[in-house]
Amino acid sequence: MNENNDYNFAFLDEVSKREIRRAIIKAIAIPGYQVPFGSRELPIGRGWGTGGIQITLSIIGPNDVLKVIDQGSDDSVNAVSIKKFVHECTGVEITTDTEKADVIQSRHRIPEEKLTEGQVLVLQVPMPEPLRYVERSELKARKMHADSEYSAAWLLLYEQIMRYGKITMGAAYPVMVDDRYVMSPSPIPRYDTLKLDDADCLYLFGAGREKMIYAVPPHTRVVPLDFEDYKFEIEETEGRACSICGATGVFFDEIFDAESGERYFQCSDSGFCGKNAERNKSNATSNECK
């Protein structure tokens, strides 16, 4: 239950939460369109996930189960801090198990386990504007969105091809949503980008500092921008396996052993990794019994 009685349930006052929910509904109605909203100040720094937190606070109910991850990890400092904050002002149950969560707030990752109908993934967005690097004026960029004038977005990729012979866009790879809006999927790795297409779950994106909310509703067509002769590519996973759970074909963190200087890999999604390791162990034990 609400453990800090000086504040309203979910911190924000009800009017503010309703306003944010309206922005969310508009965002769902127009997939990929950035809806401006009156971003509220939170006890957590702008740039530290306040867009995501405001969405989470506005949609969460007392019976929901919340999971918060940062860079795939449940224990990362900021994930812990956000979890603690939401828990203190709502009392909701916190989990690290993707399958059990109703609302998952994440920074820079989409969990490995496929999200299902009814689940909401809230992504924190530092820079919502995919055109910003070509057009620094917000007014002009918004006009370009209105007119579907996206040559600037492709130009960014074209320049990379000219310079490096391939598209070098890393995370936050721009996507075309529902054949209408070009959207920044937040700095998720390219590996995760394809999970946005025709998903069963709802994706909500919140940029607190830039005051924008946008959404990819379930079963929306999401296509990464690319060219006929230079296709979108995901990060290399081949020949790698997690040093903890042995998983292959997932997104890895690259780790250097401080003593040996050796390089090895671990699942970036810590919740998934824990579960997988557990499963392997019990399989091993049951095998032993046989």
Binding site: E149, Y158, I161, M162, F227
Partner: protein, 276 residues
């Protein structure tokens, strides 16, 4: 001669206008209404542009000629009037009446623009090749190799070494930047090319080079051009017909040789007599 563009009673004004100045016969204080101070940057301008023709627009600064060009390229909003492009819906639809999305499409596919200020036409931090490709991308091209070979072709036309394709235009001199702008403007073979004071401020020899290239492009691709300049020498070299603008209005229109040799309007006479 086949018409490619028709501009009909185009007006661009800043201010609401009043009973007095709405009447286009009423005289203004320069281009400003003496009563309500509305500025009539372009007032009831009508003309046609024909296939493979170069139409000159001459006038002093503040005469509205640049505003006219920017309005035709949708950089400014027309207050009233129509413009028809033959290449757009057979010239049956006023291009100012369509959605801004459609206007972007018209701009990307059917028009080319070269601004006096290259900052308006080029992204200075992107490569020359990228700048040209942007126009191709905007027109829907998605094949990098095809776009690159088209870019090389255009740079060759403009006599720019393809070795400089990766350089940004900010490293270029003014004349070279204009050549990149021209390459970009003609990338999609638009039926109409708009040139706004393209050689103003350039050294004479550089100016000559740019004008020669424009002439070459015009002959090679039979493109119709509207060229705005305050410089009669530029107009004489490029244009077949010339429009003279004064305080937002057209005061004279005719063959360029006629405008130069037998100017009728007092302003045109002054202008011609000022020619060095």
């Amino acid at each position: 001669m086949q018409q490619v563009m028709n501009v009909n009673e185009l007006t661009v004004r800043y201010g609401d206008g009043c009973v007095y100045c709405i009447d286009s016969d009423k005289s203004l204080d320069k281009n400003r209404c003496p009563k309500c101070k509305t500025v009539w940057a372009v007032r009831n301008v009508s003309f046609s542009l024909y296939h493979s023709e170069v139409l000159g627009v001459v006038g002093e600064s503040g005469s509205g000629k640049s505003t006219l060009m920017k309005t035709l390229y949708f950089d400014r909003e027309a207050t009233s009037g129509q413009t028809f492009l033959n290449a757009y819906e057979d010239g049956k639809t006023n291009i100012f009446s369509v959605s801004s999305q459609q206007q972007r499409a018209i701009r990307n596919n059917l028009l080319g623009m070269v601004y006096q200020n290259p900052l308006l036409g080029l992204l200075m931090d992107f490569s020359n090749g990228g700048n040209i490709a942007q126009k191709l991308i905007a027109a829907g091209h998605r094949n990098v190799s095809a776009m690159q070979s088209r870019t090389f072709e255009l740079l060759e036309h403009m006599e720019i070494s393809v070795n400089r394709v990766k350089e940004p235009p900010k490293n270029f001199s003014g004349g070279m930047q204009q050549r990149v702008q021209i390459s970009k403007a003609i990338a999609n073979n638009p039926p109409v090319l708009l040139l706004d004071e393209v050689t103003t401020g350039l050294d004479l020899s550089v100016q000559a080079k740019v004008l020669d290239l424009i002439r070459m492009v015009q002959k090679k691709f039979n493109i119709s051009i509207i060229v705005v300049s305050h410089d009669l020498a530029v107009i004489r070299m490029l244009s077949d017909r010339t429009i003279v603008m004064l305080d937002g209005q057209i005061v004279e229109h005719g063959f360029t040789d006629q405008i130069l040799e037998d100017p009728q309007h007092p302003f045109t006479q002054t202008l011609v007599h000022s020619l060095i």
